[in-house]
């Protein structure tokens, strides 16, 4: 325990990464800890990726205030970080006459929450905006400040910019306890040793109540709620607008939305689960999602599905975000129950943490060298042919396309492996470059990417994994003989 950090942030989701970045504006020694092999490995990687306008949450709640505040920050943050974000507006669609009353309610709630740009539009206007929408449409609430973001790059870019500004990142580092001295947090215990820190930010998402329990704070618990999704081939299904059904008490309902990369995303349902790693996709769940989505867009076709996944909402027992610096445990800031609209609220939550730390006595001296702009590597598919030519002349690896569906080149892969937050796994590369995210789902690129990862990381090909230790993709060389015992144990 040699080094002493000013702030240790637990959890490399979008909230933790944006918090670390917000703190990196100041002269502080900051450590960001993530138990997985990469940031963006939990709730931040499996959600609807919609930047909500803010009409959903109960007026007066933290969710409402931070949703609206976070939404307002998105254009600037994404601009600085070089992240795809489109403020294309969102729609809540009325399919029954009674739903129109709900639209009025939502608009009124939005007004009370301070959401600008809400309007109720006619069925004709709605179907003109989205021709694939059901003929049952009775009208819609249009929220012009809503949008869609690339959730992977939002999180990763925030972490990269934090690292560019001096934040230290500890991956594969799981917090096992807190160091407390006279009731005050003075560090964290991990399976890699103890890290001393004057302040600890708990942004552990699905595990945030565990961290609170380590500090002796009871009463609050995370009640994970699973959502299942389909991703559709962008060449086949081309929904243009973000479409919500009218909400139910537990959920905003099954959404049909384009992603920032042009795929159609369908989901989620809402299933309570006791397990914090229950990302199991079920047949019933998928059926529920597809049926729900087809109510909005009847032409959706299962043959166009390219992937299914499930994510967990880190819902808290209070129903609202919990954001506090508890008096009982000085030095700790807890962020818990950050479910939807958590992704939207994240930039505002990060600012709230800075304020809480300041109020708790952390000296915040601005750092002159802080650069809010992330250095983003070029994306071959988004360049003009002339720019592509220039790029290949500079670095011939950009001329070799490794993933044909998403047009990802070797140059981009190598850049991601050597980025400030390095992609060290197949999934890490997928989230950064989109390789393997297309219709062939890695069928073509996987062998090639394994070779590139092994070469660039200086490891054996059998050491290359999907998402970290235990998820290695290859077992052995064909002519390598495994230890006799291995086969025995297998049986």
């Amino acid at each position: 325990m040699t080094s002493n950090y000013d702030v240790i942030v637990i959890g490399g989701g979008v909230v933790g990464c944006l918090t670390a970045r917000a703190l990196s504006r100041y002269q502080l020694r900051i450590l960001l800890l993530e138990r997985e092999a990469d940031v963006c490995s939990g709730t931040s990687k499996a959600n609807t990726a919609i930047i909500h306008a803010g009409y959903d949450a109960r007026p007066g709640s933290l969710k409402a205030a931070l949703n609206v505040a976070g939404n307002r920050m998105y254009s600037q943050v994404c601009g600085e970080l070089g992240v795809l974000f489109e403020r294309n507006g969102t729609y809540v669609v009325a399919l029954e006459d009674e739903d129109r009353h709900t639209l009025e309610e939502l608009r009124e709630r939005g007004r009370r929450n301070g959401v600008p740009g809400l309007s109720i539009i006619s069925a004709e206007q709605m179907r003109k905006a989205e021709p694939l929408l059901s003929e049952q449409t009775r009208g819609a609430l249009f929220a012009e400040t809503g949008g869609i973001v690339d959730p992977f790059m939002m999180t990763i870019a925030a972490a990269e910019n934090a690292v560019e500004n001096g934040v230290e990142l500890g991956l594969d580092t799981e917090v096992t306890g807190l160091e407390l001295r006279q009731g005050r947090v003075v560090g964290v215990k991990t399976q890699r040793g103890v890290f001393a820190g004057n302040y600890v930010v708990n942004s552990a998402g699905l595990y945030s109540d565990w961290i609170m329990a380590m500090a002796g704070l009871g009463g609050f618990c995370i009640k994970p709620r699973k959502g299942e999704y389909y991703v559709l081939d962008r060449e086949k299904s081309q929904v243009r607008q973000v479409l919500f059904p009218c909400p139910t008490p537990v959920s905003k309902g099954i959404v049909v939305t384009p992603t920032s990369h042009g795929n159609t995303l369908v989901g989620p349902n809402a299933v309570n689960t006791d397990l914090r790693d229950d990302v199991v996709v079920t047949r019933q769940g998928l059926e529920e999602v597809f049926e729900g989505a087809q109510r909005l867009v009847p032409s959706l076709d299962k043959r166009d599905v390219i992937a299914v996944f499930a994510g967990l909402r880190a819902a808290g027992s209070t129903g609202d975000f919990l954001i506090e610096a508890p008096r009982e445990v000085p030095g700790l800031v807890s962020l818990a129950g950050i479910e939807s609209p958590g992704f939207t609220a994240a930039p505002a939550i990060a600012e709230r943490v800075v304020d809480l730390l300041r109020e708790s006595g952390l000296a915040l001296t601005p750092k002159r060298s802080f650069n809010p702009e992330r250095h983003a590597a070029p994306r071959f598919a988004e360049l003009s042919h002339r720019q592509q030519q220039e790029l290949i002349e500079r670095d011939p690896r950009y001329g070799r396309v490794v993933c044909r569906c998403e047009m990802v080149t070797e140059g981009e892969i190598v850049a991601a492996i050597h980025a400030p937050v390095p992609a060290r796994t197949y999934d890490g590369l997928k989230r950064r470059t989109r390789l393997g995210a297309g219709r062939c789902q890695g069928g073509f690129d996987t062998p090639r990417v394994i070779n590139i990862l092994a070469r660039e990381l200086g490891v054996q090909r059998t050491g290359v994994s999907k998402r970290g230790k235990g998820s290695e993709l290859l077992s052995r060389g064909t002519k390598d003989v495994e230890m006799a015992g291995t086969d025995e144990q297998r049986e």
């Binding site: 396309v401 993709l473 297998r490």
Partner: protein
């Protein structure tokens, strides 16, 4: 930006593309260019190190790479040029092709005619929406084949194969030979989806069990596959509760269908057949877009590479004729129609005047297997014009029907050619 001009540009250097390129050159096209994304020609054959190639086209039984080499040698002997390690980025209806590689950057190719021979891709776990977790250890059979045969690595130790497609069965044998254990092959249909010979040579000879009417209803495992759940399916292909069996394994291989690779065709607005997944073609393998031809698995998935080669030759000749301004103008077109127990017929359009140049072929696949003698009947506007007998028909095996020159007169006045497969 470098610009290349050629009479015929062939996109994809697998067996279909190679055959097309050779045929185009031999037909008189002066400059024929094959654009291939891999570092060598031959396509997927290079990883198909098993034998069984060439029995029909060459009268020999060759391994895939040897079969490919014959055509690579021939291509180079007749002066076909190759642009290797190069990915096509874009094709315009005016036959300008933009492609990229590490050596030249973005290259422009202006072609008199274009042959699409991009082959096919494998259906994935995502497309099947198999429930469960998403661990490492789920591979398509073709990806596993590349890993084992080209890269020299095993993707796992203990396998379950879903789907009785040919690559799946061949990989079951291959993995067994390399010391892995293949628990079984599961097939959702009540019959085999690949060739019978592969069932015998790859599964039965190696005591690998095949279970029909079963599928994988769940994948288990956090980081790596730990087991799959196999379930029997009902008539609607839905898993039947109570029939679950958990099979411990670390890898699931998928051999659940091939899909013609037509992103370039789709972007050009070329008409695609929803059943085959490939372009609608005429007897010369011409697509709906003038100057664009299609060769091999990009049109429909063939059972044998030999037929891919023959179809590629047809496409190559047509492309050369088009580029040289010699293609016979279409005078009459019959629509081919899939009749009783026929899933599809290729070509979808047929010009009877083509028979004056020689006999032509129709190729088809049946919907369901019949393990007894059947008649394959071709009728023109309801009148039977060709009949042939097959000892059996299976969805995994293609059927070829020859239309002879003497039919030209009778077909000229017809509108529709219907092909049916009926019991004797």
């Amino acid at each position: 930006m470098e610009t290349l001009c050629c009479d015929v540009a062939v996109i994809g250097g697998g067996p279909g593309g190679l055959a097309a390129a050779i045929a185009a050159r031999e037909r008189g096209a002066a400059r024929v260019l094959v654009i291939e994304r891999a570092e060598e020609l031959g396509g997927i054959l290079q990883q198909c190190i098993h034998n069984g190639f060439g029995l029909e086209a060459l009268g020999e039984d060759l391994p895939g790479p040897a079969y490919a080499q014959r055509f690579m040698d021939r291509a180079s002997a007749v002066g076909v040029e190759g642009l290797l390690d190069t990915m096509v980025l874009e094709v315009t209806p005016g036959r300008h092709i933009l492609a990229s590689n590490s050596r030249q950057g973005v290259v422009e190719v202006e072609a008199g005619a274009v042959v699409f021979s991009m082959g096919c891709r494998e259906r994935t776990r995502g497309a099947l929406a198999i429930p469960g977790t998403r661990p490492a250890g789920v591979f398509t059979a073709g990806t596993a084949q590349r890993l084992v045969n080209i890269e020299g690595f095993m993707p796992g130790r203990r396998f379950v194969v879903l789907g009785s497609g040919d690559i799946g069965m061949i990989m079951a044998r291959r993995l067994t030979l390399e010391g892995a254990h293949v628990e079984r092959v599961l097939e959702i249909m009540p019959y085999l989806s690949g060739l019978k010979r592969n069932l015998v040579q790859c599964l039965l000879d190696f005591d690998i069990p095949l279970q029909l009417k079963r599928t994988v209803s769940e994948i288990k495992g956090t980081n790596r596959v730990e087991a799959v759940v196999s379930s029997a399916v009902d008539e609607a292909m839905q898993p039947i509760p109570g029939t679950e069996e958990t099979i411990p394994c670390d890898t699931l291989l998928l051999s659940v269908g091939l899909i013609p690779e037509n992103e370039l065709s789709r972007r050009l607005g070329i008409a695609l057949d929803p059943v085959t997944g490939g372009p609608v073609v005429d007897e010369g393998m011409g697509t709906s877009l003038s100057g664009f031809f299609a060769a091999g698995n990009v049109v429909h998935v063939y059972d044998l590479v030999d037929w891919v080669t023959l179809a590629g030759e047809v496409a190559g000749r047509s492309a050369a004729d088009y580029a040289l301004g010699r293609r016979r103008p279409v005078q009459a077109r019959l629509r081919t129609v899939a009749g009783e127990n026929v899933r599809y017929v290729v070509p979808q359009w047929f010009d009877p005047n083509s028979l004056e140049e020689g006999p032509q072929q129709l190729q088809l696949r049946v919907r369901s297997p019949v393990e007894e003698k059947v008649k394959v009947v071709v009728s023109a506007d309801g009148e039977e014009v060709v009949r042939k007998t097959e000892r059996y028909v299976r969805p995994g095996e293609m059927i070829t029907v020859r239309l002879t020159q003497d039919l030209a007169g009778r077909l000229r006045s017809a509108h529709e050619l219907r092909v049916s497969v009926v019991k004797q």
